[in-house]
């Protein structure tokens, strides 16, 4: 203490440049500007890409939805004509019906199966790594390959699906080639290909449940199903809801499976909204119609996304 007091320079010494004077205000401002310039230098590449491929297309979707747009010529404002045209397209209602049915079936099949699977896997004490690798393997196969693979399985002649049914002496099915079975067939493909992620995430959530809760429940005389109902599900409610919303968002944008396996057929039974957007843009060359459809899909998905984000926020707080 005393030493510092001793060393404190006299006012005269300060004036004599022993301690650097505080920089003048202009210098500080220049310094701050330089810092900002540097910060934006680091940001620039990312910002340009986001602006070009995320923000601008989102605005453009809304703008083009009200235009007659042909690449190469200047766009014309047409009011809500694109929306009325799209709404009167018989494929429109089919696409929405198919997409919503697909999403619902994917929730019933594609959500219940991984959920139960994760519950069972969590109880197994052996070969844990093996199960995790095997269940995730299909996720690593390119979606196009899974789609082509199942297209071959669904082949009415020598496809594996019908061969298995014949082997079990069960009636065969038209699978993806029948108007009433096509959509379910695609849900099976999507479930097979994607459930690995759901299983792994849910498994991780199950492992975070404190063991004492199960012990307490068992002491209270709760049987297996009661323990699942009163401990497992409430404890993982947040993850279940999050996975469900993510799956709804993903399945409402389904494209690869119908495009590769059924081509939207038979009789438009598997045309999805995204497939219809693709058709409007690249088959009909009607970009206005495609953007009108995109906006509708965007609004609906935005609601689910907002729900998802709110959920993850509240999860972080709690």
């Amino acid at each position: 203490m005393t030493k510092t007091a001793e060393r404190r320079p006299s006012p005269a010494a300060v004036g004599a440049r022993q301690v650097p004077a505080p920089p003048p205000a202009g210098d500080r401002r220049r310094r701050r500007l330089l810092d900002q310039a540097r910060a934006y230098g680091f940001l620039l590449g990312g910002l340009i890409c986001f602006a070009l491929f995320s923000w601008y297309p989102a605005i453009r979707a809304v703008v083009i939805a009200f235009q007659k747009y042909t690449p190469g010529s200047s766009p014309e404002w047409v009011g809500t004509a694109n929306f009325t045209r799209v709404l009167h397209d018989p494929e429109f209602s089919a696409a929405w019906r198919n997409t919503l049915t697909f999403t619902l079936l994917a929730l019933l099949i594609g959500f219940a199966i991984p959920f139960v699977l994760a519950l069972v896997l969590n109880e197994l004490r052996h070969a844990k790594a093996f199960f995790r690798v095997v269940v995730y393997l299909p996720v690593m196969i390119p979606p196009v390959v899974s789609a082509l693979l199942w297209k071959w399985f669904y082949d009415p002649g020598a496809g594996l699906a019908n061969e298995t049914l014949r082997f079990l002496h069960l009636p065969t099915s038209n699978w993806s080639n029948g108007a009433d079975t096509a959509l379910v067939s695609l849900v099976i493909v999507a479930t097979w290909a994607n459930m690995g992620g759901t299983v792994l995430i849910y498994l991780a959530a199950l492992q975070s449940i404190p063991g004492e809760l199960y012990e307490a429940a068992e002491l209270d005389g709760a049987n297996l199903l009661q323990r699942i109902r009163h401990v497992t599900i409430p404890q993982t409610r947040f993850v279940i809801l999050m996975l469900m919303l993510l799956q709804i968002i993903a399945t409402m944008q389904v494209f690869t499976e119908p495009f590769v396996i059924t081509g939207g057929g038979p009789e438009n039974a598997t045309v999805t909204v995204l497939y219809l957007i693709y058709k409007y843009a690249f088959l009909y060359n009607d970009f206005g119609g495609a953007c009108a459809l995109s906006v509708m899909l965007l609004v609906l998905l935005g609601i689910f996304s907002a729900g998802y984000l709110r959920l993850t926020r509240s999860g972080e707080d709690g």
Binding site: A127, P142, V231
Partner: protein
């Protein structure tokens, strides 16, 4: 992780003879189910490509190919120009990976440590894109790539058409930013006092400490490009430039079944191999995703 963790069923129940019997029955059941549901389709694909064209169309099918033909694989390699398409995919994936690592890391570092003016607004704008499902915007995104504003260049049939949009990945950027946020501030300050510039700090201090998150982002970036279909389908109308996923679908119409199946196997090998090599990291990364939201 320890074996002592209590789950639905108590260790005491499992230790009883009845519990043991049920456990091993369920265990065997799950092994068989997994083998049939996940491994058998893959086996069917790999061996299907080795069957003769007659054998693959035969009912009832043969479980094991009568003769192993590798001609399916060699034909696929030559007839479907697989080397070309695989190379295209490698170029597209590697470029997207590099662009993402450079630009997303730099932007995440700026947002996390450099306090840019309007940083919060920018971060908000980036996070908002998470709410906008990417696929729903492919058409306006395509129109933008076909005719970039101001410079009026087209990115169609150009790997840049994959690389640049890949940078606009809010998920990866946010992952990096959150990791950078947690780095100890005093280490960075110490480097600054030693006279290191911002780039130097990023390169020599931040990045070496960020190996885990860089690994996760790298894998996500590579897998995303390798697996993507709709976007490259729009970008590459030129057959010679198409990645393997697009080429497979385009060629699937008029090619012999065994050759197509062989090509499907070849297309799957790189990602499956990468998965098997990095399985522990990948699985840990996915599992961590659930608890960290």
């Amino acid at each position: 992780m320890s074996s002592a963790t209590r789950t639905l069923i108590s260790p005491a129940t499992l230790a009883r003879p009845r519990g043991k019997a049920i456990y091993w029955t369920v265990f065997t059941g799950v092994v068989v189910l997994f083998a049939l549901a996940f491994l058998f389709p893959v086996y069917w694909m790999v061996t299907g490509a080795m069957k003769s064209p007659d054998e693959v169309a035969q009912t009832p099918p043969t479980l094991i190919p009568k003769h192993l033909h590798i001609s399916g694989y060699t034909d696929a390699w030559d007839l479907m120009q697989l080397p070309q398409h695989l190379w295209n995919t490698v170029v597209q994936a590697a470029g997207a990976w590099a662009f993402q690592l450079v630009f997303c890391t730099a932007a995440a570092y700026a947002l996390s440590k450099l306090r840019p003016a309007f940083g919060k607004v920018i971060l908000g704008g980036i996070l908002a894109t998470l709410m906008v499902p990417a696929q729903a915007l492919v058409v306006p995104k395509y129109l933008t790539a076909a005719d970039l504003p101001f410079i009026h260049t087209s990115l169609l049939n150009d790997p840049l058409g994959i690389w640049l949009p890949a940078v606009a990945n809010a998920f990866n950027l946010y992952l990096l930013k959150r990791f950078f946020d947690q780095l100890p501030q005093d280490v960075l300050e110490a480097a600054e006092i030693d006279g290191a510039g911002k780039l130097r700090i990023l390169w020599s201090v931040v990045l070496p400490m960020s190996r885990p998150v860089l690994g996760v982002v790298s894998i996500f970036a590579l897998v995303a490009v390798w697996q993507d279909f709709l976007w490259p389908l729009m970008v590459f109308s030129d057959t010679d430039k198409q990645p393997i996923s697009v080429a497979l679908v385009q060629l699937s119409q008029n090619i012999q079944l065994t050759v197509l199946i062989a090509a499907m196997v070849i297309a799957s090998i790189p990602m499956v191999a990468m998965f098997l090599v990095f399985q522990r990291h990948i699985i840990a990364g996915i599992s961590a995703g659930s608890t960290k939201g």
